[in-house]
């Protein structure tokens, strides 16, 4: 198999080929480094490529294989991580000028998890500055969507989406506060899961919002996502909010059997008048629901009346928590921020306490309402966004107050499950055509706390009966 073809293997298949000594880890890393050299100048998905360290790790990995040692499910598989995730001795910038000189002296727990499973870290991925929601704020330049270079790759894990979709890594890690895993997965035609808050350690990750942040995989297939999540999930004594409960073998749970499973279609998110969902997105989600019903799932419409306001509350909570982390930066180094980030941090500081408190009360109501629905349904289904990836506005600033209000409403699609703290994932459910380009559409599947297995199995059943995951962006 040529280097050009090798990168198109799924992470699961690559791991299998490496295990069977059909492909060496060194070949895999070299293939991905070639791909990065060829493709990344168009996308700017990487902040740091760790060519030498990855090759060194690959040689060790190869030596292990030769000695009969297989570390785990991702042995020899090249992956990459968002640049807010600590890597020992390697710059971890959060895509900011302020943190551009920060070199951690330890690996994040999730990086240790990847390494324990045998994965090889290829590099650090671009993102929006301090994981804000605006695609143009990175101090290392804008990342482009591989399906259409003018469009938003999805925020804030911009590089995780772009690099994975363009075959510059076999799988990646992102961080999701208000949708930063699901958004890039949706815009780039990938599979991404925001695990239950507390399922994956946040130790060694630059925080955005303490009560909302989660780390999770962005991958090309459901099985790759399951393997990556399996490598990073679990209790960590360094993160007091992780729970000491068993982590299932997620990949083994992928049976594709959804007979009798109850799926609730959240009607508010499919209402063009309430949420402005486009016809293409709505149709993609409805078609996906129909397919799942044909496989034996019981699909029924359900209502979550508070869903449309969850974006407002989640944005207020994240704005306050984010700006509270390092208030000195805004006062001592205001010019080191991108304009849009500085504005967002300033707003976070000016939100009155009673407004933050009301947002927290709303969070409780939203969570109770959603968990109540999940007593009846095994999973809930809805879009990830109202429309496919939009053209990036490269001009700093906010267009109008109305535009700011609309952004809050749009944030509800992903903010709902950030507020609930349960798992939610995105999977490609088709393509729309905009001009000469195809743009991915996405289905969101969400479920009960700590029940990532059921979500991924529903996604797997869908994936096994569609071919969307086999499409490649026109690079």
């Amino acid at each position: 198999m040529s280097n050009q073809e090798l990168v198109f293997l799924s992470a699961a298949n690559l791991a299998s080929e490496i295990k069977n000594k059909q492909i060496s880890p060194v070949e895999a890393v070299e293939a991905y480094l070639d791909r990065i050299n060829h493709v990344d100048p168009k996308l700017n998905a990487y902040i740091t490529v760790l060519a030498d360290k990855a090759l060194e790790a690959a040689h060790q990995s190869e030596s292990d294989i030769t000695s009969g040692v297989n570390k785990g499910s991702l042995h020899g598989v090249p992956v990459a991580v968002k640049d807010q995730i600590y890597t020992k001795g390697i710059r971890t910038s959060s895509a900011s000028k302020i943190r551009s000189g920060f070199v951690p002296d330890f690996d994040a727990t999730v990086v240790n998890g990847l390494k324990r499973s045998g994965a090889i870290i290829l590099g650090k991925l671009n993102m929006t500055e301090f994981a804000m929601g605006d695609p143009i704020t990175s101090a290392f330049g804008v990342t482009h969507n591989p399906w259409d270079l003018d469009r938003n790759p999805g925020t804030s894990s911009t590089g995780s989406g772009a690099a994975t979709a363009s075959f510059m890594c076999a799988s990646s890690l992102g961080e999701d506060t208000g949708g930063s895993i699901r958004g890039p997965a949706a815009n780039c035609g990938l599979v991404g899961i925001r695990p239950t808050w507390g399922r994956v350690s946040r130790y060694g990750v630059d925080g955005a919002s303490w009560s909302l942040d989660t780390i999770g995989p962005i991958s090309r297939t459901v099985k790759d996502c399951a393997l990556t999540l399996g490598a990073i999930a679990g209790f960590d004594q360094n993160d007091p909010y992780t729970r000491n409960i068993p982590v299932p073998d997620y990949a083994a749970c992928l049976t594709g059997d959804v007979k009798g499973l109850k799926i609730g279609l959240v009607k508010e998110f499919l209402d063009t008048e309430v949420m402005g969902v486009t016809q293409a997105v709505r149709q993609g989600v409805m078609d996906a629901a129909e397919l799942l019903a044909s496989l034996g799932a019981e699909v029924e419409e359900t209502s979550l009346p508070l869903a449309p306001v969850s974006g407002v509350a989640s944005r207020i909570i994240s704005a306050v928590e984010r700006s509270s982390l390092h208030p000195e930066w805004l006062r001592d180094k205001p010019d080191d921020f991108h304009h849009n980030t500085r504005v967002a941090f300033s707003v976070g500081e000016l939100i009155p306490s009673q407004v933050y408190y009301k947002a927290q009360k709303l969070r409780t109501l939203v969570r109770k309402q959603t968990l109540k629905a999940l007593e009846k349904f095994d999973v809930l289904a809805m879009p990830v966004a109202s429309e496919p990836a939009t053209i990036m506005n490269l001009k700093p600033g906010i267009e109008s107050k109305e535009a700011a209000v609309n952004a809050l409403t749009e944030g509800s699609y992903r903010g709902l499950f950030s507020m609930v703290s349960g798992p939610a994932m995105s999977i490609c459910c088709g393509f729309s055509t905009e001009g000469n380009n195809k743009l991915p559409l996405a289905l969101q599947i969400a479920g009960r706390p700590y029940d990532e297995s059921t979500l991924m199995n529903v996604a797997y059943a869908y994936e096994q009966n569609t071919t969307w995951h086999l499409e490649r962006p026109p690079l």
Partner: protein
């Protein structure tokens, strides 16, 4: 909650030792007032009496 004007926003910022430069004030105004208006408009049943709950979710065994 009435909409805050630029002077009021600057005064609010000053009270927390923060300067909002001229280059930022319009965008801060749009974003802050959007949030304040949007949350003010929410009058969901139960919002006045419910208390925030801890984030941690117990797994149902």
């Amino acid at each position: 909650m009435s909409e805050l004007n630029d002077d009021e926003i600057r005064a609010l910022a000053k009270s927390v030792d923060l300067d909002i430069p001229d280059s930022d004030i319009t965008d801060v105004n749009y974003s802050l007032n959007a949030m304040l208006q949007a949350i003010d408009d929410i009058t969901s049943e139960g919002i006045s009496v419910i208390e925030p709950l801890p984030i941690i979710i117990q797994k149902e065994d």
